[in-house]
Amino acid sequence: MIKNLKIFWLFATYSMKTTLQNKVGLVLFTLGKLIRFGTFFFFVFYLLSNTELLAGYTLNQTIVFFLTYNIVDSLAQLLFREVYRFRFLVVSGDLNTVLVKPYHPFMRILVGGIDIMDAFISVIYMILVTYFIFQLPGISWINILMYLLMIVNGLLIAAGFHIAVLALGVLTTEVDHTVMIYRDMTRLATFPVDIYKQPLQFIFTFIIPIGIMMTFPVKSLLNLLSPTIYAICFTLSITAFISSIKLWDYALKRYQSWGG
């Protein structure tokens, strides 16, 4: 465990060093993300200034939903950024140099490219969400704890998805489109999935579990989830994670080592 933490830390440090070498890219990327966030934030205010409620949620609650989506999304990108570069590793054959090292390959290909820019943006989201959570009435520490637990649960599903992308990359060398599908799907949870009618709401919650990942943390904060739903959420995320690991093992057995 200590060995893995040391390796994780070194990869994170080197990733940061590499990122900081490109100052223009760093500024433009961060600026782009902040502009997008600002525009959406303004949109939420504008929308709710006319309707007052969105799917039964107040302005502050909707903002917390929106910020929570951004936190889960940017944490997933912060942690799993290396997946976006995986295709090159496979087609160039450099993946072989990872597979012969005495560590789990996920240390390099899943979490080996911590993105410092997403870390910076995530901190802004976290400060804002803390502020807005304390604006909500009747929130207990238990609610906050469950909220954090559900965010971790959401990240576990995100990890499972990214591992599945890696496995598909090994089997087919296809990575980019699968990641884009993930990005497009998660965007559907920018606002609570309650805004969708059935059966879409059910699909976006339990079949494509973006609701569990991004909406349910806030629902748990607002005390809107039953113990049964919690049990379903945890079972689903653990199942998704274990299944993705099995898929990875399957893919490794069929790896053909492209690129010579």
Partner: protein, 320 residues
């Protein structure tokens, strides 16, 4: 140390046709057998050359021995481990250097990759410093070890790459085309280093190279692979003796001659362009040919050479 028994590897590849829609909805696959039930054993401290044309199965064998590929059938044991299990204890004892494959952190100095490998291989501080110092001296990388890897030449990159692969002092070293693309000076540096390293660390080294001089200078034993099968496994010297039946004589003449007057054996190959006379003769005719030639010509210099290893290997592939 390494046991390979009836190893088979079959690759499955899609068949591409002109009908894109058919390829998409009803894709057909063909199987390509890269290795046909090969078997061999390698002892500790051996240095073995794997030789064969492109696609013969050399690299596939190495990738199975290092746990990268899963074998279709057969049994492989390296240092008592099954490679594909990818046990960390096993991976800590091997290294796989692939020419033109890169494990270095591209934007950062080589020393950063070494520090990372120190943690990955859990190398104690003192041992790390000692090994790094020794390897830095052996490969003479001191002047560029602190420069970003992307700024290094191919030869320099191969040298820093070798250090990254050897920093944990592996017991078994797999080298797949370690000198590919390098100029003659860089090639010599790498080959001398491998020789010195194997002697110093008593490692087992398995080498593939298209440059026969590399194999000749390093390996006493060679395994010839073609079409996924082993066609020879034994001493390089014996292979050369078995398949090398010709000698080359090169004479630098001082005056022009009529080659017909030399009356050389009928099967002697003669290439004559004054002042150079080149003769290719059977080994058992060498004395007769030299005697006849030198008694009829006024010469300045004479050299006698064996066939090159490339020629011997080509012959052995044809004959087998």
């Amino acid at each position: 140390m390494i046991t390979v028994k009836n190893l088979r590897k079959i690759y499955k590849t899609p068949i591409k046709t002109d009908n894109t829609l058919k390829d998409f909805f009803d894709r057909q696959y063909k199987e390509h057998t890269a290795l046909h039930d090969i078997s061999f054993e390698i002892e500790q401290n051996e240095l073995i050359g794997f030789i064969g044309p492109n696609g013969a199965g050399k690299t596939t064998t190495m990738k199975i021995m290092t746990g990268i590929l899963y074998p279709t059938a057969g049994e492989v044991q390296v240092l008592g481990y099954t490679p594909f299990d990818k046990k960390h204890e096993f991976l800590k004892q091997i290294a796989f250097v692939m020419g033109q494959k890169n494990q270095m952190l591209w934007e950062l100095p080589a020393t950063d990759t070494y520090k990372l490998n120190k943690e990955i291989y859990e190398i104690p501080d003192a041992k790390y410093k000692k090994t790094l110092g020794e390897l830095t001296d052996l490969l003479e990388v001191g002047s560029f070890i602190d420069r970003p890897v992307k700024t290094l030449s191919l030869g320099q990159r191969m040298r820093v790459e070798l250090i990254a692969s050897l920093i944990h002092s592996p017991k078994v070293l797999f080298l797949d085309e370690p000198t590919i693309g390098l100029d003659i000076f860089a090639q010599t540096t790498i080959i001398n280093f491998i020789k010195e390293y194997q002697k110093q660390y008593k490692s087992t080294v398995i080498l593939t190279s298209h440059y026969m001089q590399d194999v000749q200078r390093l390996a006493k034993r060679v395994i010839l692979i073609d079409h996924g099968g082993i066609i020879y496994d034994g001493a390089l010297k014996e292979l050369v003796e078995k398949h090398s039946s010709l000698k080359r004589i090169q004479v630098m003449l001082n005056s022009e001659i009529d080659v017909q007057k030399l009356k050389l054996p009928a099967d002697t190959q003669i290439e004559y362009q004054y002042p150079q006379l080149r003769l290719t003769v059977k080994k058992d005719q060498i004395e007769e040919v030299i005697q006849k030639t030198l008694s009829h010509v006024d010469y300045d210099d004479i050299t006698i050479e064996n066939e090159t290893l490339e020629e011997v290997i080509k012959k052995s592939f044809k004959q087998e």
